[in-house]
């Protein structure tokens, strides 16, 4: 046991004294995490026919604008929207990953997004938003006092923003981000229009008391808007907020995702490199020297892989701490710790497998790099797994990366240790397969 500890400690020392290895293990994943988090902070593209459910609980005109945008020809390639009415059934479809997200436009949405206009329209029975060329005359003069009173009463209301919920599957992260982006744009546009309208009304109310001045402008709200220099900047504060909610309560953030996926990627680099050192030691003469010491070959092998395991653990724990300081969320600590241990065990299995069957250190290095990059590509390091073809998702389950990303995604979406037990089992099962396959290679090497 003491020899095992000595061998493992030696591996850790060698790994952490190698500046190049430190850069690969710690600095590069941190930099990439930050870069990807910054680049994709609001979601990414490359999607089509994203299935989205629209549950419109608001009867007002504003919610119809949302529906019209989501079903517009311009977004026909990107979105595959479906209007639903049963909230429970819709949520269930999200939870079953049948659709990317459910957009819930709550009751009172129209009233909240343009409260003054809605109140005036409702009370006086007029359409204030019909500001197009069809309306050529200003509002009847007898309405001005009532419009004025209702407007001033309403604009003083100060309420919390209404929440439009995007109930999204954690497995459709980019899609959910895109849906939120569209929704936010729609709301911003509505807000611009309604705020602009309100401003025009306010101006009209002010000018209504003056006689005969600028009659042409008063008669045409567009001219008035132009004179007042209204533009999109009018709408800076949305009275409605869009929240992405996953079935278990947390929303997706690229920073979180890239923190864990980059950690998995560079863990793979580190452990395959660690496995390679067995062959490097053979070439350097230290392994033969170990083998003529009174230490069994199995102890040497176990100690060496143990050192690679401890190094990997330290690497991922350091990355967890460092990215957490940068704001990344990995999940509840007990689950994260269990996931890290299982992931690192599984990853060291890949390192062992490569070093067991490669002919020399150079070959092991090349194979390790290729395996790491391919495993990362197919498992969702660069793109969420659910956006990859079904068969790729299935194939990727032979990689530690896939299991690691599944575990961390589940933890990041709010699940706990109990929920990721199946993933832990999968990762450990894969670990056993790797080590059994590696053992055959080691027997050949140490014969």
């Amino acid at each position: 046991m003491r020899k095992l500890a000595t061998l493992a400690l030696k591996e850790v020392k060698l790994a952490f004294r190698d500046v190049g290895a430190l850069v690969t293990m710690l600095v590069t994943p941190l930099v990439l995490t930050l870069a990807i988090g910054a680049a994709f902070g609001t979601g990414g593209g490359g999607l089509s026919d994203v299935p989205v459910l629209l549950l419109i609980q608001d009867a007002g005109p504003m919610s119809q604008i949302v529906v019209e945008v989501f079903t517009s020809a311009e977004l026909a390639d990107l979105l595959a929207p479906e209007i639903v009415s049963d909230e429970a059934a819709a949520r269930s479809r999200v939870e079953r990953d049948e659709v990317a997200a459910l957009v819930i436009v709550p009751p009172g949405f129209s009233q909240r997004i343009a409260p003054e206009l809605a109140r005036i329209e409702e009370t006086l029975g007029i359409d204030l938003l019909d500001l197009g060329p069809a309306q050529t005359a200003p509002f009847p003069e007898e309405l001005w006092p009532e419009i004025s009173r209702l407007f001033l009463e309403t604009v003083e209301m100060d309420e919390d923003p209404l929440v439009v919920e995007v109930y999204a599957s954690p497995n459709w992260r980019i899609s959910a981000g895109v849906i939120r982006g569209i929704l936010t744009q729609v709301l911003a546009q509505i807000n611009t229009t309604t705020q602009g309208t309100a401003t025009i009304i306010e101006a009209l109310l002010t000018r209504g008391s003056r006689d005969g001045e600028n009659q042409d402008i008063d008669a045409d709200p567009f001219l008035l808007a132009a004179e007042m220099g209204l533009d999109d900047t009018t709408a800076t504060q949305l009275p409605v907020r869009v929240d992405i909610v996953s079935p278990s309560g947390r929303s997706f953030r690229w920073l979180d995702y890239s923190a864990t996926s980059m950690a998995v990627l560079f863990l793979m680099f580190a452990v395959t490199s660690g496995g390679r050192t067995l062959l490097a030691e053979r070439q350097a003469g230290t392994l033969p020297r170990l083998l003529v010491s009174p230490t069994p070959a199995l102890t040497i092998l176990t100690g060496k892989m143990g050192g690679v395991f401890v190094t990997g653990l330290m690497q991922v724990f350091v990355l967890w701490g460092a990215t957490a300081l940068l704001g990344a969320y990995w999940g509840p600590p007990p689950g994260v710790m269990a996931a890290i241990v299982a992931l690192v065990l599984c990853a060291t299995g890949v390192g062992a497998l490569i070093s067991a069957w490669a002919q020399n250190a150079g070959q092991a290095s090349a194979i390790g790099t290729a395996v790491t990059l391919i495993a990362s590509a197919v498992s969702g390091t660069f793109f969420p797994r659910m956006n990859l073809p079904e068969w790729v998702q299935t194939v990727s389950l032979v990689t530690p990366n896939a299991w690691g990303i599944e575990m961390f995604s589940a933890l990041q979406s709010g699940q706990g240790l109990a929920e990721i037990l199946p993933f832990l089992g999968g990762a450990l099962g894969l670990t056993i397969i790797y080590y059994v396959a590696a053992a055959a290679g080691f027997r050949r090497q140490f014969r």
Partner: protein
């Protein structure tokens, strides 16, 4: 007492390949320095690898300190210290860390190991650099540390595989002196080298090996006797046809045992080359022959190797 007994050792790396070690048998006795002398690729390292249990013999067997190398590998490993030809060190660790690591691999620990680390560092003149990483050491310092690691635990038999390759003369001298001192304290040593001078200086007995075969074995004196204890006087003439004439002319000079000519090269085996030389030069002058080069060789392992294999040790 016989510490190593090798019997008909054979090693073939591939089934249909040549024998890297071909039916080699020898003994190493307690307290002796036994050298295997031979050119690169002769099979010296393979013999050490088999005796240290790193490689399994294809045929034959051996015992080390009474333990069979095939069936009692752990006991054999506890009885030996191996100093490999490569610098088997961790460059990123310090000298002291290397010694501690390898000591623990030998099963040493605690205060005893600490004391031994200090002792070995002092013996190898590395105390001042104990905490420095090995990657900053010179070649000679690395060689000394490589040797020190092999001595950890003070095993009864040390196997040194070409420990002086590619080092400066000062470090080489240091190692040779230390090997002698170590032996004087009772440690038996198996020493491989392709440097004839080292084998001559260190060894109680020498085995000469070539192409995997142990071609002869004995003390330095015994080996010299194989070529006769005569000095060799070699002359090169400008006249290639004069060699045979000179050979016949010097046939009566005192102390001559053998004379041969090959074109313009004349080789004379004599008791004392310097005494015979004036008379040989006089005869050559009388015959009108001009001497291009004169060489005097005392009998040594080089001549033994040349005598036995027909080629020089460093060919």
């Amino acid at each position: 007492m016989c510490l190593v007994q090798a019997r008909n050792l054979i090693k073939r790396y591939t089934a249909d390949g040549p024998n890297a070690v071909d039916d080699v048998s020898f003994e190493i006795y307690d307290g002796e320095i036994f050298s295997l002398l031979g050119p690169n690729g002769a099979g010296k390292t393979t013999i050490i690898s088999m005796l240290s249990t790193l490689l399994k013999p294809t045929g034959g067997t051996a015992t080390v300190n009474g333990h069979d190398i095939r069936t009692q590998a752990m006991a054999v490993r506890r009885s030996i210290g191996v100093v490999p030809q490569e610098l088997a060190l961790y460059a990123e660790l310090s000298a002291a860390e290397n010694l501690r690591f390898w000591g623990e691999m030998r099963g040493l620990g605690g205060a005893a190991l600490g004391g031994e680390i200090k002792e070995k560092l002092a013996l190898m003149d590395l105390t001042e650099r104990a905490r420095d990483r090995v990657e900053t050491f010179s070649g000679g310092m690395k060689r000394r540390l490589n040797l020190a690691i092999g001595l950890l635990g003070n095993p009864p038999l040390i196997m040194l595989d070409e420990p002086t390759v590619a080092i400066d003369p000062q470090s080489r001298r240091y190692i040779l002196d230390y090997v002698k001192a170590l032996n004087q304290k009772g440690t038996s040593i198996l020493y491989t080298t392709h440097y004839m001078e080292e084998a001559q200086e260190l060894s109680h007995r020498i085995g000469i090996i070539d192409h995997g075969k142990l071609i002869t074995l004995g003390t330095l004196q015994e080996l010299k006797q194989l070529v006769g204890e005569h000095e060799m006087l070699k002359l090169q003439l400008y006249q290639s046809e004069g060699g045979q004439t000179l050979t016949e002319a010097v046939g009566e000079i005192k102390g001559l045992h053998r004379a041969s000519a090959n074109d313009g090269e004349v080789t004379l085996n004599v008791d004392a080359a310097e005494e015979a030389l004036p008379e040989v030069l006089s005869k050559a002058s009388e015959l009108g022959l001009s001497i291009r080069n004169i060489e005097i060789r005392e009998p040594n392992l080089e001549t033994v190797f040349l005598h036995l294999t027909g080629r020089a040790l460093r060919d």
